[in-house]
Symmetry: C2
Subunit: 337 residues, 2 copies
């Protein structure tokens, strides 16, 4: 009999999508994007997303404080709102915490959720509490508003692909934690530490770009550029060509070859939980988009590829070889193989 490692995360999601039936009339977008979208009969649409973190899977209290684990989880959930071009305004947190947990650890976890929610404009307004768990798990729901949501399905042949900020720090930081954990607190690696302990959801960047109405498609990089780009390719029915040499990477990743042993471009293109935004937009609009971010002193926008007819995601590596990336990626069940 198959178990979940054979079926896979996306297999399970696809099965679920086939079971749920037609959504209510007011549901504009159901399963298949970063958020569900709901028509509330007003000028703004409601966005809702849910994102869970599990101890020893998404965070490790040997590496980070309970506050940082919660901060990282909340940032990841809020990032889904930014990925639709939306503005978060509230969150709900379900916490499952082993009953023998020191109360101070539980309270630090709650403080991380509460403070990070407030920091990005999404104060916690509810949730649930479950006792008797074996490990800490937090499921975070975030609500947001958007006028014109960015979908994964809007990329057009001829568009350019651009990414906010830099990629690779998450993979480099995790690799450092695994192999040389004492280095993570060194000043030269502070960017890696920050990306893991305190990643920034690109809410301000979405706020700056959304009113311009120039973004055709977007996704946040949570499972890795290769895989999240694959969602855009599939939903938009296009092919994405990414030039790995153009992916912006922090000096700390480049300097420390041990950080990205698979090569900088490959590692940057497969690094998950980066929470940068991948955007598809017309080449004519790219300078304006970059300027909107620059004049607000936000994360810079870098062109890393283009959208063409076809399917899949291609990555051009440093050595000039091109690899197809759309199939292999992070899968929450297959990772246990």
């Amino acid at each position: 009999m198959r178990d979940l490692r054979q079926l896979g995360e996306f297999g399970l999601i696809a099965k679920m999508a086939g079971m749920v039936g037609a959504p209510a009339a007011e549901v504009i977008k159901s399963i298949g994007d970063d958020c569900a979208i709901i028509d509330v009969s007003g000028p703004r649409k409601l966005l809702i997303t849910t994102d869970a973190i599990l101890e020893a899977r998404h965070f490790n209290l040997e590496w980070m404080s309970p506050f940082e684990a919660a901060q990282r989880g909340m940032a990841g959930a809020i990032s889904d709102i930014a990925a639709m071009g939306g503005e978060p305004f509230a969150s709900l947190c379900t916490t499952a915490i082993p009953s023998a947990t020191d109360a101070e650890i539980a309270l630090e976890l709650l403080r991380g959720l509460a403070e990070t929610g407030r920091r990005y404009g999404a104060p916690v307004i509810g949730g649930d509490t479950v006792g008797g768990a074996d490990r800490i798990m937090v499921d975070i729901v975030v609500l947001g508003w958007v006028e014109e949501p960015w979908l994964r399905s809007g990329a057009l042949p001829g568009d350019v692909l651009a990414v906010t900020g830099r990629l690779g720090e998450s993979a480099a930081g995790l690799n450092l934690l695994l192999h040389s954990p004492q280095l993570i607190n060194e000043p030269e690696f502070s960017a890696l530490r920050t990306r893991i302990m305190d990643p920034t959801p690109r809410v301000a960047e979405a706020r700056a770009l959304s009113p311009a109405g120039i973004v055709h498609a977007a996704v946040d990089i949570s499972d890795g550029l290769h895989q999240d780009a694959g969602h855009v390719a599939r939903e938009s029915q296009v092919r994405l060509e990414i030039d790995g040499r153009r992916i912006p990477v922090h000096r700390a990743c480049q300097d420390a070859e041990r950080c990205l042993p698979a090569g900088t471009a490959w590692s940057a293109a497969t690094s998950g939980e980066e929470y940068e935004l991948l955007l598809a937009l017309s080449p004519d609009d790219l300078p304006r988009a970059a300027q909107l971010l620059e004049e607000r002193d936000l994360a810079p926008l870098t062109q890393i590829g283009r959208v063409v007819e076809g399917e899949g995601v291609a990555l051009l590596r440093e050595d000039g070889s091109e690899v197809e990336m759309s199939s292999g990626g992070w899968d929450h069940f297959r990772a246990d193989k």
Copy 2:
């Protein structure tokens, strides 16, 4: 150092409530009721609730199928929408399932979520999937609409207390499962089986009563009447007097003394996961409320007590003794003591 068993579930929630800061302007009701309420600038308000179930805590696959476990969980989450007088319209499910789980078990669980959501008008529109868990956990978010929400805080001295349906079947059924599990499938105990495997959230009853505008306060009975009544007493700053002899109890509970060893009234008043509604309304409106349910062939409404000045919850037992019930109740962490 204290652990969560000393702090307790409500201690943890109270701490969280103190950390979250002011909600956004559109949040009408934050932590402290069955749902959060959001003003979406239209005639209807948005309700959102989240409710989690954990294997071996809220359900047991030795006793019920994965479909039934999911059905029970979804019904419990939807019940929170009914408790505000609302109409559910969508749900989101985050599932954490051990990676070695048989795919058929996982799919039955998803099918239970999908079909129960549809059955009560809340098709699944999103969620998250987490691998690597030790036990199955599902966090269920339900969205609903309401024009005039029923709050826990609206009970007035002089109101009567009424309950939909019957209480006690959940406690009786669980007791039967613990001590004589072979009996649960006997026809005479089918009501107990149904209450545990397939409880009915009182969505239709809320739909029938809500437009009349006669319900002053409501709560769904998820933690036990004593405790949920305690929420109403505290939020409304009133005292609730419940006549245990008037609590409607199914014959299967009365007949089988082994089902409710602590006595029928006490057991019915402390039985959790019943998902009946406790309503406070003017005595003048009670006949009309009962009629609205009766003419639609819905769960009957029974007067079980009254609201007076003061605080706390009193229960009159069969022997004429009155006990204070507001303090002792189900607590997700204290249960592990």
